[in-house]
Symmetry: C2
Subunit: 208 residues, 2 copies
């Protein structure tokens, strides 16, 4: 039983539905909001509805966008031959921040995870397959799913389904992060770094 008024209880309940916000944090956030000026609370509230309302998925790459196609897909300077496949829009932002990648993206909005009843149809993999069949200028797909069981299953599935098409399929290298101490690196990372070792004797790096 809580002594809070129904509207405060509702606010706390709504906030604690958000990822990473537990009961204590939700209370702290709620009381911060209650102590805000009313127009500031309104601005926060409006930012939620307005962002949610104006945001849709790009019909080409499935990234969140306010126009369709999105800015990246409609940018004439981008390299249309390469598609980098990520799990979520946040990862598009990570690559864009790096300013190294000039190709296009495809956002899966999920991963293939049969153990948790997540099938291919819970992702945008069907849209990716359709996109590749309609855009013959795409010659390379780079899979940038996360380095975990679901990310690996998704990468494996994609590489198998795309292999007959003749499109070059690659995946981000797995290995030691920069600045890491080998002593403190976990076994799987170390095993991947060993397996993916790059020859230095021939003076050649990996092909991108």
């Amino acid at each position: 039983m809580s002594g809070y008024s129904p509207s405060i209880q509702n606010l706390i309940a709504q906030l604690s539905n958000l990822p990473g916000i537990g009961g204590k944090s939700a209370q702290r956030l709620a009381f911060h909001i209650l102590a805000m000026d009313e127009d500031k609370a309104k601005a926060l509230s409006d930012s939620i509805t307005s962002a949610r309302r104006s945001t849709r998925r790009c019909s080409v790459c499935q990234n969140f966008t306010d126009g369709d196609p999105c800015r990246i897909c409609s940018d004439p300077t981008r390299d249309k031959s390469t598609v980098l496949v990520v799990e979520t829009p946040r990862e598009v932002e990570s690559f864009e921040r790096m300013h190294e990648y000039k190709g296009l993206y495809h956002v899966l909005h999920g991963v293939f995870d049969p153990l948790n009843n997540k099938s291919i149809n819970d992702t945008t993999i069907p849209d990716l397959i359709k996109r590749l069949s309609e855009h013959s200028e795409i010659t390379e797909v780079i899979i940038a799913t996360n380095q975990n069981a679901e990310g690996n299953a998704t990468a494996l599935y994609l590489s198998r389904i795309l292999s007959p098409s003749g499109i070059k399929v690659s995946r981000l290298a797995s290995g030691l992060p920069m600045g890491s101490d080998i002593e403190f690196v976990d076994d799987l990372t170390l095993a991947n770094a060993l397996k993916g070792r790059i020859s230095l004797s021939e003076g050649a790096g990996n092909e991108a």
Copy 2:
């Protein structure tokens, strides 16, 4: 420079204004909200405005409430002779959850913190003084400010200003938390526990 649309950027900015929400968490929350059903996002947004709009301060104890006076102040079964002084409404909830305290509260909504330019007038201490002068049935004030520099300064100020009134003023005991290992307890806590030691030889505890 961010590749996000203006409405997403605004949502991230609004969320990162909240306490304990950094840039990364704000992005994660924003994308969770963007992936919600539109009616669920609306419910979250509405809970903010509606809680903020319907919540005011109780004219007696200054706690957040939807009616005035609040449920605790208008509850005839509560002991009207005792007022427990807390810094925020969250602490009222902590005491209520305990089901041990049956008196009334006073919420300061801040602390006396001269080093950070927070004066008495940034708290509801003036309201407390007025309340005590108008309600002669109040015979005890229990100060439950936090155990830190600001909480201590506030408690000291209150005890000094209230001492001429003849009202009994006490403060929550400071000492070892239950289940604590003396080996791992910080020096100040240990010093307080020693200073506030309770005589066992007479078979008497502290007076409440």
